[in-house]
């Protein structure tokens, strides 16, 4: 038995979400579907885009080693960036969490703030710091005696990884910091009172508890790095291409839209599979922590 009031309240959520739903179907799902379709169309220098169904673009991506190399470079950069942010960001989040209230909030603002500052401006900063062979970074590293010859940063993968790690670092710190908030400091004290040293405490008490935070941060950093555009385009220059900059080139320089659409579709599918897959793995592995 349903009263009129209950019927109204069953309709209400749909009435409220209908405008947003229509917007998303109309201007998000349909364009995405059109892009997947586009990747099966034909293209020629003179005839433009031909709306037929062929596998030409996909075959080209599958057979031409250029694309395999480009995708491998994209994911290699994303993996190294992710490792770098995890190795540096997790300890920093831990240190941050042990600071007293005032300093904690100041440094949290300093470290998370860059997240909202234009990626173009931040990457420009790295381009200035790298600047040629006698840039500030190289001068500093050489005067500290860490390196003997300048490392080429501009137009190299090294430079891309450093700049990307800086851009992505706030996500990792944030994610580990969130995991640390759930941690009971008394457990650490208990371990201490039972005679555990600092190394044991970090390895046996802290690490297992913040691991889910590190892993979920890693997923965010990986997927954003693999699809990053501004940083690889500015630091990598015109020759060192990654998936996003290649798709941009196909669309706005070569004008081979179907091929660009195929690259973009492949990037999207690969990322969705990786993100969903590793999310499922993490949730199974750390089921107790999430409960």
């Amino acid at each position: 038995m349903s009263t009129a009031a209950e019927q109204r309240s069953a309709r209400a959520p749909w009435a409220l979400t209908a405008p947003a739903l229509m917007l998303f179907v109309g201007v998000l799902l349909i364009p995405l579907a059109m892009t997947v379709m586009l990747s099966f169309h034909d293209w020629g220098q003179y005839k433009g885009i031909e709306p037929v169904f062929i596998l030409k673009n996909w075959r080209e991506i599958a057979t031409d080693p250029y694309y395999a190399e480009m995708f491998w470079r994209t994911f290699r950069i994303a993996i190294v960036t992710t490792l770098l942010t995890a190795v540096l960001g997790a300890p920093e989040a831990y240190i941050l969490n042990r600071m007293s209230g005032r300093w904690k909030s100041i440094f949290l603002l300093v470290i998370l703030g860059p997240l909202l500052i234009s990626v173009v401006a931040r990457t420009l900063g790295w381009a200035l710091l790298f600047g040629g062979n006698n840039g500030l970074v190289n001068k500093l590293l050489m005067s500290a005696g860490l390196i003997h010859a300048p490392i080429p940063f501009m137009f190299t993968e090294t430079g891309m990884v450093v700049a990307l790690a800086h851009v992505m670092m706030p996500f990792m710190v944030l994610s580990v910091w969130a995991a640390l908030q759930r941690l009971d400091p008394q457990i650490e004290n208990a371990a201490l009172s039972l005679g555990a040293g600092p190394v044991t405490i970090i390895r046996r008490i802290i690490m297992p508890q913040i691991m889910p935070g590190v892993l979920s941060g890693a997923i965010i950093v990986f997927s954003l790095s693999a699809s990053a555009f501004a940083t690889p385009a500015i630091i990598g220059g015109r020759r060192l291409k990654v998936a996003a900059t290649l798709a941009y080139d196909e669309f706005l320089n070569t004008l081979d839209w179907p091929l660009g659409a195929a690259v973009a579709t492949l990037l999207l599918v690969a990322l969705v599979l990786i993100v969903v897959g590793s999310n499922a793995l993490i949730e199974r592995r750390y089921a107790e922590v999430f409960r």
Binding site: F24, A228, A247
Partner: protein, 268 residues
């Protein structure tokens, strides 16, 4: 809790310096009195800020970015507020799927969105138009507008609304006089965060912008592609100043950690 040791503090100091260095160096170089890229060792000068005036395309792009950010964040809220109220208050079939759909622009790479919108708006005859930019930006800022509104609507005390209803308020009056004022801090913060996201977006916008509708990040990016000179650092310094202002406001009124904490906040 134990305090940080000296080693931890050294690590922390280096970490913070590296995080701040690229932003600081842009702001410093912007004040150089020289005609080339250099740190202002011989005093500060505003010549490169004055030089912006000779590049009307940067000023035009700034207004485009400002208008686009303000308008698309506002439109996004028009859609997001009712949706957030529905998701916060009702348990209905498809609720989780809807929430996932509305947050999905966070998951989809912006380069893919840019391509999809370029294809879509070109076939709709809107290629390169300001209207196309607005619609595209509404989609990418929607998750941010939704999330903060949702947080405010979830934490709201429903008995206040029931009291209003028992006193005879309903429909629009109820929303305008009771619900909206209660969720307003979340709505305003949602607008601010959405504005920052729109104002900073390059990856998606670079596909859609045409001469005349270029946003500031797009203009800067295209400029940097050709050459890097002090002019682009002074423009960047202005952009950083705008963002910092919004950031400090956001932190004062809402708390930056609350804005950023939670899953899947993305920038790029």
């Amino acid at each position: 809790m134990r305090r940080n040791g000296p080693l931890a503090l050294i690590f922390h100091t280096i970490f913070v310096i590296v995080m701040v260095a690229p932003i600081l160096v842009v702001c410093l170089v912007a004040f150089t009195p020289e005609g080339f890229l250099s740190l202002p060792t011989n005093g500060f000068s505003l010549r490169w800020f004055r030089a912006i005036a000779n590049y009307p395309e940067f000023i035009h792009a700034f207004w485009v970015s400002l208008g686009l950010g303000a308008l698309s964040s506002f439109v996004a809220l028009l859609f997001a507020v009712p949706a957030a109220l529905a998701i916060a208050r009702y348990r209905f079939r498809g609720r989780d799927a809807l929430a996932a759909l509305f947050l999905s622009p966070l998951m989809i790479p912006h380069v893919v969105l840019g391509i999809a919108f370029l294809r879509f708006f070109t076939s709709a005859g809107l290629g390169g138009s300001f209207a196309a930019l607005i619609i595209a930006h509404v989609i990418i800022v929607f998750p941010f507008a939704l999330r903060l509104t949702l947080a405010a609507a979830t934490g709201m005390d429903l008995s206040v609304e029931m009291a209003a209803v028992s006193l005879g308020a309903n429909g629009w009056t109820l929303f305008r006089r009771v619900t909206l004022p209660l969720i307003l801090p979340g709505v305003i913060s949602g607008w601010a965060l959405a504005f920052i996201q729109s104002f900073d977006d390059l990856t998606m916008t670079v596909f859609l912008a045409a001469p005349g509708t270029e946003t500031l990040p797009v203009r800067m990016f295209l400029y940097i592609q050709d050459n890097i000179d002090p002019l682009v650092t002074s423009v960047s310094a202005c952009v950083i100043a705008v963002t910092m202002t919004a950031l400090i406001l956001l932190d004062r009124f809402y708390g930056l950690d609350r804005v950023l904490a939670g899953k899947g906040v993305t920038g790029r």
